[in-house]
C-alpha cells in the first residue's frame, strides 16, 4: 500500500465507523437491527471497532419472525454473550397473537412483510429514535436511492421523493418528537466487499453460509428449506442436497444455493463467478418490480 493511501475496504470501514459514531453522538436512543445475517454481523463488528475500548453504546434488536433458522438464533445469542451486548427481541408471533397482523396463507405465505409492524412497534415501545440497519445500495434499486441518514415520519414511513440532501460527510439527524431515523452505515459496500472484509478481519459467521446437507425443494427456480411450517405444492418433492445460504432471512423467503463452498476462500471464488445478484433468490423481492420500494415506504428495514 502506498503511503497515505487507504485501500478501498479500509476507506469503507473508516466511513462506516464515522457514521456509527455520528449515530451515537446525534441520537438519544439508538438500536442496531440484527438479523443474524452477514451484513448485520459486520455492523456489530464495526460498532465494536468504533467505540473500543468502551462497549457498543446501543442494544441489538432482532425482529424474530419465529421462522428463523435455528443456527441464526444460536449464533445471535452467542454473539451477544461474547460482547456483553443487550439483546431485544421483537416477536412477529406476538404481533399475530395480539391481532395486529394477520398471517398470510397459501404456498407463498411469508412472515417477511409482517415484520414491518413488529419492527415499528418495537421501535415505539422502546422509544428508539434511530435504528441502524445493514442495508446496502448495491442490493436493490430502491436501496440505491437511500441516504445514510434516512428520515422516517411519525408513522415510520419513508418518503423517497422527499429525502434530505446529504452532502460531504455532514449528516442531518434532526427530527421532531415521534419521528425516527434509519441509518445505513454500510451503504457503499458491495456483496464482494462484505465477504472480503469478513475474510480480512476473520469475522465469525453462522454455519449456514457454508455448504451443508439440507432437505430442500424447488419452487420457481429457487431452492427452499423444507421447514415444518412450509406448505408444499403436490408436485414439489423434497431432496437432500448440499446447499448454503447466500443471504440469511426468514426461512420462507431465503433461497438456498447449491454449493460445495466450505471456506471463506471458496465463497469468495463463488461470488466472483456468480452471474446472479444475491437478492435474486429472495422471494420477497420477486413479488413486483417495486416490491422493495413499497415495503420500505411502509417502514421495512
Amino acid at each position: 500500500m502506498k503511503k497515505y493511501n487507504l485501500n478501498h475496504l479500509r476507506e469503507l470501514e473508516a466511513e462506516s465507523i464515522y457514521v456509527l459514531r455520528e449515530v451515537a453522538a446525534q441520537f438519544e436512543r439508538p438500536a442496531l437491527l440484527f438479523s443474524g445475517g452477514k451484513d448485520s454481523i459486520i455492523l456489530v463488528h464495526l460498532s465494536v471497532k468504533a467505540f473500543w475500548p468502551a462497549k457498543i453504546p446501543f442494544p441489538l434488536v432482532h425482529i424474530d419472525t419465529g421462522h428463523n433458522f435455528e443456527e441464526t438464533i444460536i449464533f445471535r445469542d452467542e454473539l451477544c454473550r461474547k460482547l456483553g451486548a443487550q439483546l431485544i427481541v421483537g416477536s412477529v408471533q406476538e404481533s399475530i397473537d395480539e391481532g395486529k397482523v394477520v398471517e398470510e396463507n397459501g404456498y407463498n405465505a411469508s412472515r417477511n412483510l409482517l415484520q414491518t409492524t413488529t419492527l415499528l412497534d418495537t421501535i415505539e415501545r422502546h422509544k428508539f429514535d434511530v435504528a441502524i440497519g445493514g442495508g446496502r445500495r448495491d442490493e436493490e434499486k430502491a436501496r440505491a436511492k437511500e441516504r445514510f441518514f434516512s428520515h422516517r415520519d411519525e408513522f415510520g414511513q419513508w418518503d423517497p421523493k422527499n429525502q434530505r440532501p446529504e452532502l460531504w460527510n455532514i449528516f442531518n439527524g434532526r427530527k421532531n418528537m415521534g419521528e425516527h431515523f434509519r441509518v445505513f452505515p454500510i451503504s457503499n459496500w458491495t456483496e464482494m466487499d462484505v465477504w472480503q472484509y469478513i475474510y480480512m478481519e476473520n469475522i465469525d459467521i453462522p454455519s449456514l453460509y457454508y455448504t451443508h446437507e439440507r432437505d430442500v425443494f424447488l419452487r420457481d427456480g429457487v431452492w427452499l428449506y423444507d421447514a415444518p411450517f412450509m406448505t408444499k405444492k403436490p408436485d414439489e418433492k423434497v431432496e437432500r442436497i448440499k446447499v448454503r445460504c447466500r443471504t440469511i432471512g426468514d426461512i420462507s423467503c431465503t433461497g438456498l444455493t447449491i454449493s460445495m463452498a466450505d471456506s471463506l476462500e471458496d465463497i469468495i471464488q463463488e461470488i466472483a463467478a456468480t452471474r446472479i445478484t444475491e437478492r435474486g433468490g429472495r422471494a420477497d423481492d420477486m413479488r413486483s418490480e417495486a416490491a422493495m420500494e413499497d415495503r420500505k415506504k411502509e417502514g421495512y428495514f
Binding site: K2, D138, K141, A142, K161, P165, N172, T190, M200, E265
Partner: protein, 427 residues
C-alpha cells in the same frame, strides 16, 4: 474476466476507491455510458439484465433500456426521468468505483451538487454533434464549485460525426477556453461512442488519431492519493470515548475522522477552542496502536494531559491553526422549495460542530448558465447559487473550501421542519 481466472483476494484488498459523478441527460447518452461501463466490466448480473429486458418490453421499447437499471423509484420508471442521486458500484482489477449518477436537467442542480460533494472525478458528457451547451457549462461550473479534483470530458457520439478529429478538437478548444475562467485543476478529454463502445473500455479502431487512453484507463489511473489535504492537520472531535470498565478506568479517547494533514504519536497539538496544548499519547484503531493517522482514517486519539474536550472541538497543530470566526462568506446552493429568508436564522452544521446562523447578506447570485453575476436580486430559491454572508452564534474553526473540502463545508437546516435547505462552500 472473473469466471476465467482465479479471483485474487490479495489484489482485491489492494484496490483503491474512486468516486465519480456523471452529469447529463438521457440525450447525451449518459445512461448508455453507465450501462456500457457496468456491462463491459461485468458488473451487471443476469437477473438484473433479465429484469431490465422485461421492463423495456413492457414499456414498448425494442432495444434494452439501460437507464432502467439506475431508475430505482416507481415514479422515475413511470415518468422516464431520474429524480434522485443513484449510486452504482463496479470494480475492475485495479479499482473499485462508486458512481453518483445524477440527473442533468436544470431543476436538479441540487442533485448534481449532492453527487459532486464526495466525488474524486466528474465525467462531463458532450454530444459531438452539438458541441458545448448551456448544460455543459452548468455541469462544469458545479464541478468546479464543489472542487471535484479531476474532470474527464467525454465527447460522445463520435460515430455520428464520422469519428472526425476536427469535431473533437473544436469541442476540446472551446471547453478549454471556457474552463480557463473556472477553478478546475485537472481536465482530460476522450472521444467516445458509448453506444458502439469506442474508447469506453476498449480502445477504438475508428479513431487512430487519438493517442490517449480509454475512459476506463483514465478512471483506473487518475492519481487520487493527493485529493485529500495532507498538509493542514485537522481532527474534528466526533465523540468522546469513556469506557465504564475497570481495566480502562482512566481511559479517555477522542474519536473522529482525520479531515486533513497527519497526526503522529508524540506530536504537539493544540485543542480548539480552549487553546490548550498537549502531546498525542496514542492513536488507536480498535486493538491496534497506530504510529500515525491521515485522511480519511477514523481513529481514536488519546492525549498526555487531561483537558476538557467535547464533540465539536478540533485538534490541530500549534503552528498551523485554521481560521476562527463568526463572520463567514460562503458560496451557497439552495436546496429547498421554500425560498431562502434574508435575515432569517437557520441551524448550521460544520464538521462535527453545531451552531446557528443568521443570513446577513446576498452579495450576488450566479447565473449557472452564463456564469454571470446578478447583483440586484436577493431572492434565492431552489437550485440557485449565490454568495452569502453569514454570522454564526459561535466561532467556527474552518478553512476555505478550496483548501479543504471537509473543514470548508457547511449545511443549513430549517429549524421549523429540520430539513437541509442550504449547502455552502466557505470562501
Amino acid at each position: 474476466m472473473m469466471e476465467e481466472k482465479e479471483f485474487s483476494s490479495k489484489a482485491y484488498l489492494d484496490m483503491e476507491l474512486l468516486r465519480f459523478t456523471t452529469a447529463g441527460s438521457v440525450d447525451d447518452g449518459k445512461s448508455t455510458l453507465i450501462g456500457r461501463l457496468l456491462y463491459d466490466s461485468k458488473s451487471i448480473f443476469e437477473d438484473q439484465l433479465e429484469a431490465v429486458k422485461k421492463a423495456s418490453i413492457k414499456k414498448g421499447n425494442e432495444a434494452m433500456d439501460l437507464s432502467l437499471l439506475t431508475d430505482g423509484l416507481r415514479a422515475e420508471r413511470e415518468q422516464g426521468i431520474t429524480i434522485d442521486v443513484a449510486y452504482r458500484y463496479f470494480a475492475t482489477p485495479k479499482r473499485k468505483f462508486i458512481i453518483a449518477d445524477t440527473p442533468g436537467h436544470v431543476q436538479y442542480t441540487r442533485n448534481m451538487v449532492t453527487g459532486a460533494s464526495t466525488a474524486n472525478a466528474a465525467i462531463i458528457l458532450i454530444d459531438a454533434r452539438n458541441g458545448i451547451t448551456e448544460q455543459s457549462h452548468r455541469h462544469t461550473f458545479i464541478a468546479s464549485l464543489l472542487q471535484i479534483p479531476h474532470i474527464v470530458v467525454c465527447v460522445n457520439k463520435m460515430d455520428l460525426v464520422n469519428y472526425e478529429e476536427e469535431s473533437y478538437e473544436k469541442i476540446k478548444a472551446d471547453f478549454q477556453a471556457f474552463a480557463a475562467k473556472l477553478a478546475v485543476k485537472d481536465v482530460r478529454f476522450v472521444p467516445i461512442s458509448a453506444l458502439k463502445g469506442d474508447n469506453v473500455v476498449k480502445k477504438s479502431t475508428n479513431m487512430s488519431w487519438y493517442e490517449g487512453g480509454t475512459l476506463m484507463y483514465i478512471l483506473e489511473n487518475i492519481h487520487i492519493s493527493s485529493d485529500h489535504n495532507h498538509i493542514d492537520a485537522r481532527f474534528p472531535v466526533q465523540y468522546v470515548i469513556r469506557p465504564q470498565r475497570d481495566e480502562y478506568h482512566d481511559f479517555r479517547g477522542y474519536a473522529g475522522r482525520v479531515a486533513g494533514g497527519t497526526f503522529k504519536v508524540g506530536d504537539k497539538v493544540m485543542v480548539l477552542p480552549s487553546g490548550f496544548t498537549t502531546t498525542i499519547k496514542s492513536i488507536i484503531n480498535h486493538t491496534k496502536e497506530l504510529e500515525e493517522a491521515f485522511p480519511p482514517m477514523s481513529v481514536t486519539i488519546t492525549l498526555e494531559d487531561d483537558i476538557d474536550i467535547s464533540r465539536g472541538d478540533m485538534i490541530v497543530k500549534e503552528n498551523n491553526i485554521p481560521r476562527i470566526g463568526q463572520d463567514i462568506d460562503i458560496m451557497m446552493c439552495w436546496m429547498s422549495e421554500k425560498p431562502m429568508r434574508l435575515n432569517g436564522k437557520y441551524a448550521l452544521k460544520h464538521t462535527t460542530a453545531d451552531a446557528r446562523c443568521l443570513i446577513k447578506d446576498v452579495k450576488y447570485k450566479v447565473d449557472v448558465n452564463t456564469l454571470g453575476k446578478i447583483l440586484d436580486d436577493k431572492n434565492i430559491g431552489l437550485n440557485e447559487i449565490a454568495r452569502i454572508s453569514l454570522r454564526t452564534t459561535k466561532p467556527l474553526f474552518y478553512d476555505s473550501y478550496r483548501q479543504n473540502r471537509k473543514t470548508g463545508a457547511v449545511i443549513l437546516i430549517d429549524e421549523a421542519d429540520n430539513t437541509t435547505v442550504g449547502v455552502g462552500m466557505i470562501i
